[in-house]
């Protein structure tokens, strides 16, 4: 049941993605206002090899797993 629920959520989000292509949303943070977000100190995962290792350590020492980290995406600075 959980797997089906998750599939529904995934399908809904995929539809959301498709619908977003049909309309235009005015960005409230303009591209020329993203200089601070483009600063390396704002990178969510600036050193993936290091953060991957630490996730490895935490998953070895604790019972929880997943859900940590930047989870994809970036600053949208391009």
């Amino acid at each position: 049941m959980k797997g089906r629920s998750l599939l529904r959520v995934l399908a809904s989000l995929a539809m959301l993605g498709l619908l977003s292509a049909c309309g235009s949303v005015e960005p409230w943070v303009k591209p020329y206002e993203r200089d601070r977000l483009a600063d390396p100190i704002m990178f969510l995962d600036g050193d993936p090899v290091s953060s991957a290792y630490l996730y490895h350590v935490y998953e070895a020492r604790e019972g929880a797993r997943g859900g940590e980290g930047s989870g994809g995406g970036g600053c949208g600075c391009n």
């Binding site: 989000l13 601070r36 991957a52 859900g67 940590e68 994809g72």
Partner: protein, 385 residues
Amino acid sequence: MSQTLYLNSVSIRNAFASIILLALTRASVAGVLPDDRSDVLYHLYDGGGVTIDGPSVLVRKQVARNISLVGNYYVDMVTSASIDVVTTASPYTEERKQWSLGMDYLHRNTTLSAGYTSSVESDFDATTYNFSVSQDMFGDLTTLTLSYGLGDDVVRRSDDETFARDNSRQHYGIGLTQILTRNLITTLNIETITDEGFLNNPYRSVRYADPDSPVGYSFEPELYPNTRTSNAVGLLARYYLPYRAAVQTEYRYFTDTWDIESHTASISYIHPMDDWTFTVKYRWHDQTGAHFYQDLFSRTEATNFRGRDKELSPLTSQTLKLAASYKLLNNGWRFIDRASVTFSIDILNLDYHDFRDLRTDAVIGEEPLYALEADVVQLFFSIWY
């Protein structure tokens, strides 16, 4: 006595093979391919009688206008005389080698990623496949990532060549990154992981009260359920401070069908100073124990499922991180655009609320609770080209 003992339950180790690759694919940014870079990292974990060190080498290179490849080679060299080992088995050494290969394909605002990971050690093999799609939306303020992972493992015993058990594992992930203001970026991660197969440790034992034993207890093999489903929700926010520094807060809620429930929170401060960048982080984690976990069972085979893996017990962990990174070759050199060297130490303190230290002569069931302190050291060089 040549019997070895796993560092962790198989269910935890199952996830290892996919962690690095997941993190590497997470480095992808929808709408733009990741930077070409290479990292050479030395890692050291030292604490609780366990020393694990080794290298990790990552190479990422764009090979066409819209394709980037990434490879990672990672080694764990383990020397263990942990609390589990000294109380129920013998110290051992072990080596784990892991290869990961991944590819990102960019088409307009969509990034498709695929990856493969293989992890090999003397009594455990893990193979993982990962796929994800990231889509930039709303003027690149929003990035939605959907990911799926499939893992197959084989568990063996070093003292029994005929022993082999299978595990399968599936990851489902949703990530949403959102720019809220010109100073604030946030992410939401939802991750579900399902395991099915032989999830317990083939070596580990549970303790039960035994009046016929001189010490009052004996050991028998642990026995876990053969399925597990976990759900995690993570929130992250990073804010740019007015004087060019950043602060990041994170929170994660976790629950699973083994009745483990946890809360994890952290706060980081990142401060650049000339060619240096300093990071300080504090992380706190608290969890309940699995429903089949007990430090001391009342008798042999007292419950249908039983485990004494301290990672599945109720515990609180705290980590203090200190890191310093120094920029090199700011003007470039030959094919290198820039480089950096980074040193970090994470000081872990784990307090177990229902896992007792059997190395003392205390009355059975009243031994002192176990606590662990470990240092995690990383030194790595990075180049961008």
